[in-house]
């Protein structure tokens, strides 16, 4: 087992800025990241031998991506940077890690958790067909593997990522057949007052949407993705607009409804959780300066609530400054105040986004019994409802009875949708059915692993 004073988990915008801040104060943190190259999901970095320009890869965000990547490049020699390392368990101030098949342990005094987010999936009929991706996965295919998910692609769901990914695909030369936005245009108008506080972000959103229209890509707003069909892989999608049903032949679909936080590690660390109305999820509690409920554990970025990449950079810096202050360093208090003020502003903007891209409240009610919710264990909405009909309402209990969330992903993909179905069918509040317990390993762990001595 190795010992470190400060460990940061996640080399995305939050983790990198946290590391940079600590280095600026003369400390040498250990930065652990699951990916081959730092940057996180949003600024996922292409492999070394890929040659597409940042402008092509990241569009408007190229400047931020490059700045973050070069920050990590500069830091790498001053810190203990460990890419391709999974933290699969946390126990008593020791992390269990796995690096290319080798298990190791790492003891820490302070920990900054910046585990980020994945897509929030609301299953529809046919979503398990080959050729269906989440929006984030479609984006990763483009950025990290330099390939599109199909030749004739439909993007569906909701959230800012919807337009961004469609735009990136179209720019990269893929044929984008349509964008199906679950949120009505009226919602976006209603959200304007809150969104206007972040004019640049708003402008980008408007730009992507207008660009798509200007390039003849149909954008349908206020429509519901109904089903994805195909015999062996995606052949078509259909959606409903008012009373009318439309369909379109395509060979790939990317869909998601905004993002969800990756909270398993915070759970294993023993952090207290509280219900977030905005995120419709249980999230590790953090104070306005990034402290979790556990002494020495700090939370930064989307892993503790979705606020986006800009906020993650600030939250990473803020968590590091808080850690420094808590451990007796004299920090720049004006900088702390500025960061807190800016983060509060982004949070207001986030409320605006929720208005613009509202959660489809009727999703659970209109999801048919035969729709698969948990693809690992092939558990349908009907299976879950049947379990609820037997008197079960607590999500871990429902899991125990019908296996939802018991497979490879351990509910990371299906858990939220399962909770929506349970709440809808038992008539309880979503916040009243509990949350899936975190259980090690956070991701699958192989037998026969070697151990670092």
């Amino acid at each position: 087992m190795k010992r470190k004073d400060i460990v940061i988990i996640g080399a995305g915008p939050a983790g990198i800025r946290a590391a940079q801040t600590l280095v600026a104060y003369g400390l040498q943190p250990c930065l652990i990241d699951e990916s081959l190259r730092g940057g996180g999901q949003i600024y996922r970095r292409q492999p070394d031998n890929f040659k597409r320009s940042p402008k092509k890869l990241y569009g408007f965000e190229a400047g931020k991506a490059v700045a973050l990547h070069s920050t990590l490049d500069r830091l790498a020699q001053d810190i203990d940077y460990r890419p391709q390392t999974l933290v699969w368990n946390a126990e008593n101030r020791v992390l269990d890690t796995l690096t290319e098949g080798v298990a190791d342990q790492l003891a820490y005094r302070q920990l900054i958790v910046a585990t980020g987010a994945t897509d929030r999936i609301l299953p529809v009929q046919g979503w398990t067909l080959p050729g269906v991706y989440s929006l984030g996965a479609a984006q990763i295919a483009l950025k990290f593997q330099a390939c599109a998910i199909g030749e004739r692609v439909v993007f569906a769901g909701s959230g800012p990522l919807l337009y961004l990914v469609a735009y990136q695909y179209a720019k990269a030369g893929a044929k984008v057949l349509a964008v199906l936005d679950g949120a009505p245009f009226s919602a976006q108008t209603r959200a304007l007052p809150a969104l206007i506080r972040q004019p640049l972000t708003l402008a980008k959103g408007v730009y992507y949407r207008s660009w798509l229209s200007a390039h003849g890509i149909p954008v349908h707003q206020g429509v519901q993705l109904e089903r994805i069909e195909g015999e062996h892989r995606v052949g078509s999608v259909s959606w409903r607009s008012g009373q009318q049903t439309h369909s379109l032949d395509c060979d790939a679909v990317a869909f998601a409804h905004a993002l969800r936080s990756e909270t398993q590690l915070a759970d294993l660390l023993g952090c207290a959780f509280s219900w977030s109305v905005l995120n419709r999820a249980w999230l590790p509690t953090r104070d306005s300066e990034g402290r979790s409920s556990v002494d020495g554990v700090y939370l930064a970025g989307d892993g503790a609530g979705i606020l986006g990449a800009d906020a993650a950079e600030m939250a990473g810096e803020l968590a590091a400054l808080t850690l420094l202050a808590d451990t007796g360093h004299t920090v720049d208090t004006r900088r702390v105040a500025t960061l807190k003020r800016k983060l509060a502003a982004i949070e207001r903007f986030r409320h605006g986004l929720e208005t613009a891209f509202p959660f489809p409240q009727d999703w659970a009610a209109r999801t048919a019994d035969n729709v698969i919710i948990c693809r690992c264990e092939e558990v349908t909405a009907g299976d879950i409802r049947q379990t609820v009909a037997q008197g079960h309402w607590e999500i871990n209990r429902v899991k125990a009875m019908c296996r939802v969330g018991m497979g490879r992903c351990q509910g990371r993909m299906c858990g939220l949708a399962a909770c929506e179905i349970v709440a809808q069918s038992c008539g309880r509040e979503l916040s009243g059915i509990g949350r899936l317990r975190g259980q090690a390993p956070i991701k699958p762990l192989p037998f026969g692993l070697e151990t670092e001595r």
């Binding site: 342990q105 390993p441 026969g448």
Partner: protein, 394 residues
């Protein structure tokens, strides 16, 4: 205040022992109520390994275990589901000649109990179980033992009891128990109030505090088995397996997942536990030498539970020595799943006829009276590696 609910027997604890007791009492027409602090079968009855085995138990438990074997044989009719119960056999592997000799000796002393153990040498073992790793030198097979899904089986006992008229309440935390000379008076945190002639203490790892309240403390400790499950794998074995001397046990379910256990975890608090890092690593490093098909497989989840252990690893089962009407059924030392239904039935028999048809002398709480009670008997969960590893592993 509303009138108390009057019953003939009140069961505290909705694990497999309490639920079975409620079921058999209801079958015999008793008015029975079951109180479970959490959810029915949510603790060790529901999260255990799922071994349904007689092989390896001490002789003292075999009569009761044989009776349980009969009950399991009738499971579907009794609880309304098959619970994924399979009489696939229980194979106990030996890793050395010394361990094999221990298996031979066990087969010898248990002759006459009906286990029909078959001893397999190295060649016979491989002829029947081609997957067995080279480290196994032989094995003992109990062909009629097997395994089941505890998540489904244990709660189903309560549901079956309810169908026969038993009252059963989840999230019913008992906060006060007293006896006024006539009957027990029991109250829950949610304000429920019960009166009953009989009180069955089937509260698992949390049963010691009630025993202590009635003047018979027991030196119970909590254990936390480390459990792990793989992703679904191609079927390679249907027997449930264990190893002489302990260490590891494994079974493969119909869906293909392998469930493995071995070593001890730790308590998070009095009700929650996790498998420790060390136990998980031991299983991941060592399992493949006994079960070569696991090489390269992925573990997807680990878990633990909270089990009550008494120093001699025998349960406390039978009447209180201090309080008429009080019955105990707890402390099954991580091996209560198979025997639980027979334990519940024995308690029901005491209520209905005054005595169990199978002798429970070996499990009397009186055995702790001769020893001065440990100071501050542990009522919460304390992490402890049980002594005599392996003697009654699943």
């Amino acid at each position: 205040m509303s009138a108390p609910i009057e019953v003939d027997a009140l069961v505290i604890g909705g694990g497999i022992v309490g639920a079975s007791a409620a079921l058999f009492l209801a079958q015999k027409g008793q008015r029975v109520a079951l109180l479970e602090r959490d959810f029915f079968g949510a603790h060790s009855s529901g999260v255990n390994y799922g071994g349904v085995r007689r092989q390896g138990r001490p002789l003292s438990q075999l009569p009761l275990s044989q009776r349980a074997h009969g009950i399991w044989g009738n499971l579907q009719q009794l609880i309304g589901i098959d619970g994924e119960y399979l009489r696939s056999g229980h194979l106990k592997l030996a890793r050395s000649d010394k361990d094999m000799a221990a298996l031979v000796a066990y087969a010898e002393v248990t002759r006459g109990f009906g286990l029909n153990l078959q001893l397999l040498d190295r060649i016979q073992l491989r002829a029947r179980f081609a997957w067995a790793g080279d480290v196994a030198v032989g094995a003992s097979l109990c062909a009629d033992d097997g395994h089941a899904n505890p998540r489904l089986v244990s709660p189903a006992f309560t549901r079956a009891a309810q169908r026969l008229g038993a009252l059963a309440f989840e999230q019913a935390h008992v906060i006060d128990v007293s006896h006024d000379g006539q009957a027990f008076d029991v109250r829950t945190a949610s304000g429920q109030h019960f009166r009953s002639q009989w009180l069955l203490n089937c509260a698992g790892a949390w049963a010691a505090s009630l025993a202590e309240q009635f003047g018979e403390p027991v030196p119970m400790r909590s254990g936390h088995p480390a459990m792990l499950v793989t992703e679904p794998l191609p079927m390679f074995m249907d027997v449930s397996t264990g190893v002489e001397g302990g260490g590891i046990y494994a079974r493969q379910v119909a869906r293909g997942n392998c469930v493995l256990g071995g070593g001890q975890g730790f308590a998070l608090d009095s009700a929650r536990a996790r498998p420790g890092h060390a136990a998980i690593m031991d299983i991941l490093r060592n399992a493949a030498e006994l079960y070569p098909p696991l090489a390269g497989a992925q573990a997807i989840r680990t878990w633990s539970g909270t089990e009550g252990y008494l120093p001699d690893r025998e349960p406390v089962l039978g009447a209180s020595a201090t309080q008429p009407g009080l019955l105990h059924g707890f402390g099954f030392a991580g091996s209560g799943f198979q025997i639980g239904p027979a334990a519940g039935e024995a308690l029901a028999e005491i209520v209905c006829t005054g005595a169990s048809s199978i002798s429970l002398d070996a499990f009397s709480i009186r055995r702790f009276q001769v020893v001065p009670p440990a100071t501050g008997a542990v009522t919460g969960a304390v992490n402890v590696i049980p002594l005599h590893r392996g003697r009654s592993h699943p």
